[in-house]
Amino acid sequence: MVLRRAVLHGVALLALAAVPLAGDYTAGLIAEVLVFAIFAMSLDLLIGYTGLMSFGHAAFFGLSAYVVTILGVHLGWSGWWGLPAGVALSAAAAAVVGYFCIRVSGIPFLMLTMAFSQLFYSVSVRWRDVTGGTDGLTGFERPALFGLSLDDRTTLYYVIAAGFALAYWFLRRVIASPLGAIFIGIRENEARMRAVGFPVQRFKLIAFVIGGGVAGFSGALYAFFNAYVSSEILHWALSGDAIIMVILGGAGTMIGPVAGTAIFLLLKYFVSTHFQYWLLVVGGIFIACVMFLPQGVWGLVVQRVAAWKRT
């Protein structure tokens, strides 16, 4: 069991390392998938593992991407300093937003997270001097690593792939840890968690902060990847995209959000080249998924494998 898992992880790492062989276009596409996969995994920690239906997760992704870009463009900070600053600020913002939102649960929680994230969006639109508003902020210079500029596609890809591997490893550890067990317990039965002695509110907030911090990490990598941000990355549509990625792939699994992100982005590029109104298609697929495949694509695979093992 342990051995097989190690082998699988080794193969996955090798595959990630080999991606640049497929050319710049493919590597760029996969880099984008990996950036958003981190974002989706961070949301899955909330939705799939803690049972917190956050509808405003883009706030923490976008905030960090802005922090990295703004520090770089306006203050000349290297992205390597911007990245930890972005993660820290996203986690701090998640602590503040979470502090208020966890006072309610279920559907009011969902509405509140959505409302707060819209505040971030509005600020980015209005505060033009700093954020560039809807026009966006250009002029971010990608940092260099060991003398290799991230402007080089292959270097950029490896930095993002390493970031993905790190985030995946970290979230996996968290979920398998005693802290993660508490998150899962809250998802399963919040009232019982209280009755056996857990201060549930505190742990919801911790989950929210970790989720926000990891979303910030993905946002910082996005700033590296794109070298340009606009208020679009704080728009609620991005929060919505992340929810689709998680649900489509399978909430409450590690691989699900990654698979969901890949499906979502490939669908987006494929459909939008043929049909302008691709949200219509994505919305339809999502509705069908909620109705007929609530466990998601990866959830189905897990079920089938389990069923096959039993026979």
Binding site: F55, F100, P108, M114, L280, G283, I287
Partner: protein, 287 residues
């Protein structure tokens, strides 16, 4: 003094528009425990339909009279064909469904009417302004206040006085018991859902001359409505009404007097509410 009066009045107008949105949101939530994330889409749909009908017929009043029809029809389909099949599952799956529909509606509206900003002219009968104590009040906005108040009164009479309204109230209190009393709760769900989104569409239509008509109107009206529902207390119509006016006034006054912080004013209000009364003005703690 006149300027203050005008600002207060504008706040009242915006509050009435928010009420047309949040009344349905709150009713649907109270009854079905589902927040309809696509509620803003129906508001937007009502606005676009109103513009299209007004262009075709040349009459604002015809537009207003029919703008709710496509929304009610679509709402009934959404509830009967989609939401209903998921009643056996958790409420969250139903919420996710309504969320999926926001994507569908967004692009449907763009496909049919394009991405451009549209506007709806105020009908001739309601153009101009009246002077009250030295301040000018646009007639159309006075009409909006009257319209919102009339809808609020009508809803209250319906819920409080009619037999059907009594059934809705019974089902809001306890749908299992209501079903036991022989009330067709499932049909009631469909009716209230259609009524709620119809009100939203009507709101979009009357709001069109004031707020404009554009893709993205859905989220712009949905977020303040969410704040209204959180402040008013989920599932309470009275809470929705009072909180709508409150949010409308605070938002408008904030924009007039603290333009730099206007964005935060309403959120500040919501945060204070959450810290003092997490279940809202008239909300009941629900499991």
């Amino acid at each position: 003094m006149q300027i203050v009066a005008i600002q207060l009045f504008n706040g009242l107008v915006y509050g009435m528009l928010l009420f047309l949105m949040s009344a349905g949101l709150s009713l649907i939530f109270g009854l079905m425990n589902v927040v309809n994330i696509s509620h803003g889409s129906f508001f937007m749909l009502g606005a676009f339909v109103a513009v299209a009908v007004a262009q075709a017929t040349g009459s604002f009043w015809v537009a207003l009279a029919v703008a709710w029809i496509p929304a009610v029809a679509l709402g009934a389909v959404v509830e009967r064909v989609f939401l209903r099949t998921l009643y056996a599952r958790g409420h969250l799956d139903q919420v996710l469904l309504t969320f999926g529909f926001t994507f569908v509606f967004t692009d449907l509206v763009r496909w049919i009417w394009g991405p451009d900003f549209r506007s709806l002219d105020v009908p001739a009968a309601l153009q101009g302004a009246v002077e009250i104590a030295g301040a000018l009040f646009p007639i159309y906005r006075l009409f909006l206040v009257g319209f919102g108040a009339a809808v609020a009164l009508g809803l209250w009479l319906f819920l409080d006085r009619s037999r059907l309204g009594a059934m809705v109230r019974a089902a809001v209190d306890d749908s299992a018991t209501a079903a036991g009393l022989g009330i067709n709760v499932s049909l009631l769900f469909a009716g209230v859902f259609a009524l709620g989104v119809g009100l939203a569409a009507l709101g979009g239509a009357v709001a069109a001359p004031v707020l404009g008509v554009y893709s993205g109107l859905d989220i712009d009206i949905l977020i303040p409505s969410f704040i209204v529902v959180v402040i008013g207390g989920t599932g309470s119509l009275r809470g929705a009404f009072i909180a709508s006016l409150f949010v409308g006034l605070i938002d408008t006054l904030g924009k007039a007097y603290f333009p730099d912080f206007a964005l935060f004013v309403v959120y500040l209000l919501m945060v204070v509410m959450l810290l003092s009364r997490p279940h809202g003005l008239f909300g009941i703690a629900r499991a």
